[in-house]
């Protein structure tokens, strides 16, 4: 570990080699660079010049620096640098005791701690040492030495505890263990947090371990944060964020959740560098704020980073001040009685008894109450008035009830301007009946309440009708006059009931709506833990409902969790794990940290221990990158020396050889660097496809008989030439194809000479041929044996070539064939032909059978199937007739040998090619006269 960096060396002694760098520096300075060599004919003249006293040219400083860096890097790399080296132990023989802080403070970076412990165990396993795991929270069981394997299993079972660690309790078993095993080395995986009794523990530990070596592992990971002292004040919900170590600014976010775990809001916090505590303030509407049940630091998984809030943070204390002095005479008729009874189910009511309203207000404000009710208080005067105004601005909720006093005074602590005096309805001097409650304003907190029909109002104070009256009215009577008005001031609100809080002016205090209205008003108020005045406290115990585990997640309570007394406010312990206790309607939150708890760094200097930090990542061997850097520097040095020695000039002299070799090297590098370079060359199949598709080409099947293939090639060449001379088709060089290997789809027509006795093509070839024919290609089979056919009808069918063709075709899906009809379109595609002679003229051309003439359709000049015949069979050896020698003379003689026969053989070829290319277009041509006639031309 070097200077706080997670860097270590496998062979630290090698670093002593760095001491040689000054010597190296001196040597490098001394040895000048190699001079440039220049061939200079008048050098003899220079011999006679007396050398001057000249300062020797020294190695430039940057070159020296470069070389020293290079040497330093090599030395450092030789020392085996490791990033994140594993935690080392001082000896390699003594058994190892691993003390683990497993309180909540360790939970945040638990994985790093476990990994460090695991590395230690692995190292102990390699050295054959025993291991004792000592979780400092588990004080009950005795410590025993284990094999590393067992210790590893045990380590997996250790979980952080949700409460604050009482380290001192582990000392006794540790002492017993150390007494039994005198030669032992200790490693303490500390969380670095002192919650109050750390120093005491350190001193005790120091005494307990005596002179045994101890290593304290601490730091290197994010330090734990904690939440404490949540405060639902009138203005906002605030919580203190704690940390143990000062230094460094540290920011984060506090997350607020309700009881069901739904997020309610966020509050950022930021530590200044010298702060150990800061505050996060959740600025939420009070209704939402009151639902907050849990605060947690985002991405900090520990029980300490969670604050649970129960109803004590939600139950408001309401101060009630009555302006009438006679209330005490008839307590059951006083407004305080109605208010107290209405408020008690959901609020703590504090009554101001026997005090002037101003004094009572001051006292309640001192007690930091969130809500005050002034029942028929005419005026609050003096300093109390100013404080009250400020308090309302700061979030206080002031509820006032009208009454004779209020009606008689001027007061600015009312939401609307009031008329002097009251209004009596249903009295003897009034025409009007007592009014009923008509409804609640939509934007008021009362929105959604059922409008009671049992409320009648006899008297009320009236508001001056002005423009703001409507929007400040929360509840109205049937005649439209306001019953409740309210005004927001600052963060607070003033609410005025235009009736009294007792039954003199209305029935309202007797109805259930009154309780509901007050409840909703109370929920407007912030909740402060009011300064306790008198809480006798019910001493009943409530059991745990949901508790936090060490990582701050809820879990069912363990069997060891004991009930807490209601009103428990202390910090959590092993017996009382943090969490919610009690029934759902009356949950009591027990938090890991008490409001007064503060975190402090643990000072382990008294231990005289070796210090280590936790490792965040896997150890990384840095030798490779450093050696690489050294190599790059070496290259740079070589380039520099080359350049200093006039390298480029020298290079220029040997330009040719060097250029060639450099080019070769770069070429090789390029080839090595891009294995795709070769892949970019076309594959043979692609090449074939490219060549075959750019130009229309005739194709013949390679039979393997060289003579036949040569004739086929020459024949198709001759036909191609004839086509170019006579027609618009200028086809490319004919191609020999092997159906088993080549794609056939590029060719409109394939000429297939059948060699007698040829074997059946392989299955893949047959599949391709079949596909080719189905996709519209035409194959011209030529058995070339018309002359060999036995005489007589059907003799052609028994010729040897035809027999071979039968075997070939037997595996194919061949349509019905017929001899070429006279009116077949093939006879008309280019030339008008009667027969299709080749070298022989007595063979018959077979084509796919065309549908016979139907009765309703008269016979047409040309008949065609719906497409091109996919198969043509002849035996006249067409290619033999087409074949030309290179000098243009025919290659083979004809039978019977008329000169016209060759011409007609070529014409037959032209017709066949045109037929294959144009299909039944020619057959459709017969309709053109009719079409033109129909078009009126």
């Amino acid at each position: 570990m070097i200077g706080g960096l997670p860097l270590g060396f496998a062979q630290p002694l090698v670093l002593l080699g760095l001491l040689s760098l000054p010597v190296l520096w001196w040597l490098l300075r001394l040895i000048p660079p190699r001079p440039r060599r220049i061939s200079f004919p008048p050098t003899r003249m220079l011999f006679d010049i007396v050398p001057k006293e000249e300062t020797p040219a020294r190695t430039p400083w940057w070159l020296t620096l470069l070389r020293l860096t290079l040497a330093g890097l090599v030395i450092i790399a030789a020392a085996g640098p490791l990033w994140n080296p594993p935690v080392a132990t001082s000896s390699r023989a003594a058994p190892l005791a691993i003390l683990i802080d497993d309180g909540w403070a360790a939970a945040a970076a638990w994985d790093a701690r476990i990994r460090t412990a695991d590395e230690l165990i692995a190292r102990a396993e390699a050295d054959n040492r025993g291991v004792a795991l000592v979780p400092l929270s588990e004080t009950g069981r005795d410590i025993s030495m284990q094999t590393p394997g067992a210790a590893r299993v045990r380590l997996k079972q250790i979980k952080p505890k949700p409460h604050t660690l009482e380290r001192g309790e582990a000392l006794a078993p540790l002492g017993r263990f150390l007494a039994a095993a005198p030669d032992i080395e200790l490693v303490w995986l500390s969380d670095g947090v002192d919650m109050g009794r750390g120093q005491e523990f350190i001193e005790a530990l120091s005494r307990t371990i005596g002179s045994r070596p101890i290593t304290v592992v601490e730091g290197g990971i994010a330090q734990p944060h904690a939440l404490a002292a949540a405060d639902n004040a009138a203005g906002a919900l605030s919580v203190k964020v704690l940390r143990a170590q000062t230094g460094g600014s540290d920011t984060g976010i506090v997350h607020a959740l309700d009881l069901k775990g739904l997020p309610l809001g966020d509050a950022p916090f930021a530590f200044k560098s010298d702060e150990r505590e800061t505050e996060a303030v959740l600025d939420l509407p009070v209704e939402i704020r009151n639902d907050v049940a849990r605060l947690e630091i985002v991405s900090e998984r520990s029980a300490g980073a969670v604050q649970l809030l129960d109803k004590r943070w939600r139950r408001r204390t309401v101060g009630v001040i009555s302006g009438s002095s006679s209330d005490t005479a008839q307590p059951l008729l006083g407004s305080t009685f109605y208010l107290g009874r209405a408020l008690n189910p959901f609020a703590d009511v504090r009554l101001a008894e026997g005090a002037a309203p101003a004094d009572a207000v001051a006292r309640f404000l001192d007690q930091n109450l969130p809500m005050l009710i002034l029942a028929d208080v005419g005026n609050v005067a003096g300093e109390a008035h100013d404080r009250l105004t400020k308090w309302i601005d700061g979030g206080g909720v002031l509820v006032r009830f009208a009454g004779p006093r209020l009606a008689a005074t001027d007061d600015d602590l009312v939401p609307v301007k009031l008329r002097r005096g009251g209004r009596i309805l249903g009295g003897s001097l009034s025409w009007e009946q007592p009014q009923q409650l008509a409804g609640f304003a939509r934007e008021s907190p009362f929105n959604g309440m059922a409008v009671p029909n049992d409320v009648t109002v006899n008297r009320q104070v009236l508001a001056e009708p002005d423009s703001v009256l409507t929007e400040r009215t929360w509840a109205t009577l049937a005649d439209g006059t306001p019953l409740v008005t309210a005004q927001r001031r600052g963060k607070g609100v003033i609410v005025l009931f235009h009736v009294t809080a007792d039954t003199r002016w209305s029935d309202l205090p007797l109805s259930g709506a009154f309780v509901e209205m007050l409840k909703r008003l109370v929920s407007l108020a912030g909740s402060t833990i009011a300064t306790e005045t008198n809480t006798p406290g019910r001493r009943e115990a409530v059991p745990a409902t949901r508790v936090l585990d060490g990582f701050g997640a809820f879990e069912p309570p363990p069997a060891t969790a004991r009930p807490v007394p209601a009103g428990f406010t202390g910090r959590a312990s092993a017996d009382h794990p943090p969490g919610f206790y009690g029934p759902p309607e009356g949950l009591i939150a027990v938090n890991t940290l008490a409001p007064a708890d503060r975190m402090a760094p643990l000072d382990v200097s008294a231990l005289n221990a070796r210090r280590e930090v936790y490792r965040l990542g896997e150890p990384q061997d840095l030798r490779g990158p450093i050696f690489l850097g050294a190599l790059l520097l070496l290259l740079a040095d070589a380039m520099v020396v080359f350049w200093l020695a006039g390298g480029l000039v020298a290079l220029g002299r040997r330009r040719r050889a060097v250029t060639a070799s450099i080019a070769a090297a770069m070429l090789a590098a390029c080839l090595l660097a891009s294995p795709h370079a070769q892949a970019q060359a076309l594959s043979p199949a692609d090449d074939f496809a490219m060549k075959s598709s750019v130009q229309t080409k005739l194709a013949y099947v390679i039979t393997g008989d060289a003579e036949v293939d040569a004739i086929s090639k020459a024949g198709l060449q001759g036909l191609t030439l004839f086509l170019a001379q006579r027609t618009a088709l200028e086809a490319g060089e004919p191609v020999g194809v092997d159906p088993a290997r080549d794609e056939l789809a590029f060719f409109p027509l394939i000429y297939w000479p059948v060699v007698p006795g040829a074997p059946k093509p392989p299955q893949i070839a047959l599949t391709r041929i079949d596909a080719y024919m189905k996709q519209g290609g035409s194959i011209l089979f030529d058995t070339r044996d018309a002359v060999d056919a036995p005489p007589g009808p059907g003799g052609e069918m028994r010729a040897p070539g035809m027999m071979t063709l039968r075997t070939i075709l037997s595996a194919l899906d061949i349509p019905e064939l017929e001899p070429l009809p006279r009116d077949h379109v093939l006879t008309k595609t280019f030339f008008l032909l009667k027969d299709f002679p080749g070298r022989f003229s007595n063979g018959q051309l077979w084509v796919e059978a065309t549908p016979a003439d139907s009765e309703e359709e008269p016979s047409r000049p040309a008949r065609a199937g719906d497409g091109v015949s996919s198969i043509l069979i002849t035996s006249n050896d067409l290619a033999g007739a087409w074949a030309l020698r290179p000098d243009g003379q025919p290659m083979l003689p004809l039978m019977p040998g008329e000169a016209r026969q060759r011409e007609f053989a070529f014409r037959a070829g032209v017709n066949i090619v045109m037929y294959a290319l144009t299909g039944n277009y020619k057959a459709d041509q017969v309709h053109i006269p009719a079409l033109l006639e129909r078009l009126g031309q």
Partner: protein, 318 residues
């Protein structure tokens, strides 16, 4: 000294270039007719007449006897035909031998950066051009130790062949031989040999009274010494190397040393009546050729055959 392997190639290419270059250059100067102050008594006869009166066997012309001439010159047979006295003149058939020595030592291959011509190339171009001009003028040209004097019309090819076929060691200075007293020697060399050797060579060659021209062909870099920094200077002919720690500080000393070297050479040539010229390869080759042309064509003596002959011609025409 071992010939550097690449040197042959360098020389071959230089010869090839110089063959054409020399011819082109020669075409630009008028025929060089040597000042021939001592030719009158030469015993070497040229193969071809010089188309002018002079010592020779063939009849050239009769001219009128001018008073003051030795009476023995009168051709009495011709003079007997009329009243005048005639002198029979033969065609001048004597030719002059010029030894041209292009230094082909390794040091001549030096060419500083950005200069197309090496010193060797320049020496060959000028040598070839000079030879061509001389042969056109009827002189005989040879290369000491390499080619006997000849007046071949294809003198450039002859010289080039002789040079190309010579695979011997190339010396910086011409070999020791005894030229005819009437011959001329043109030394085209960088003359970086030790001053003692240069003196010795010049003294030997001039021992028989031969006239000569010494031309030092230098690269500009050899004069200005544009070097700085730590440089090891290597003598290409194997005489050693010297390392200058900071070459820029050597410049003034070097320039002074070169000046002294030249002064030594010039003193020797002046003493012997030879001429000495310095030619830099960044100057055009024609400049050197013109200098040589003028020096060889009109000697300081002023009593050359040409002038004499011109006088005689005037007299004959009169």
């Amino acid at each position: 000294m071992a010939v550097e392997p690449g040197l042959n190639d360098i020389e071959t290419s230089a010869v090839k270039q110089a063959t054409g270059g020399g011819r082109t250059l020669a075409a630009t100067v008028p025929r060089l007719i040597l000042e021939a102050r001592r030719v009158a008594a030469t015993v070497i006869h040229g193969l071809h007449g010089r188309r002018r009166a002079g010592p020779g066997e063939n009849f050239w012309q009769y001219r009128r006897f001018s008073s003051g001439e030795p009476a023995a010159r009168v051709d009495w047979r011709r003079s007997a035909r009329d009243d005048h006295l005639y002198v029979r003149e033969q065609e001048w058939e004597a030719s002059h031998t010029v030894w041209i020595w292009p230094d082909r030592s390794p040091s001549m291959a030096f060419a500083s950066a950005l200069l197309p011509d090496s010193k060797l190339e320049r020496a060959l171009i000028v040598g070839f051009a000079l030879a061509e001009v001389l042969v056109q003028g009827g002189e005989r040209v040879g290369i000491p130790g390499l080619m006997r004097p000849t007046a071949n019309r294809n003198i450039i090819e002859k010289m080039a062949e002789a040079i190309l076929h010579d695979r011997e060691e190339r010396a910086s200075l011409p070999p020791s031989f005894v030229p005819s007293p009437l011959a001329e020697i043109v030394m085209l060399s960088d003359l970086w040999a030790p001053i003692g050797d240069v003196h010795k060579t010049i003294a030997q060659l001039s021992a028989a009274g031969t006239h000569g021209h010494v031309v030092q062909i230098v690269d500009p870099a050899e004069e200005t010494f544009p070097y700085s920094g730590r440089i090891e200077f290597v003598e290409p002919e194997g005489a050693g190397a010297i390392t200058a720690g900071r070459a820029e500080t050597w410049r003034s000393d070097y320039v002074a040393r070169v000046a002294r070297h030249r002064a030594d050479i010039r003193a020797e040539t002046d003493r012997l009546g030879w001429t000495f010229a310095v030619h830099r390869t960044d100057r055009p080759a024609s400049e050197l050729l013109l200098v040589l042309h003028s020096r060889m064509g009109a000697g300081p003596a002023g009593t050359g055959i040409n002038r004499w002959h011109a006088l005689g011609q005037t007299g004959g025409a009169a």
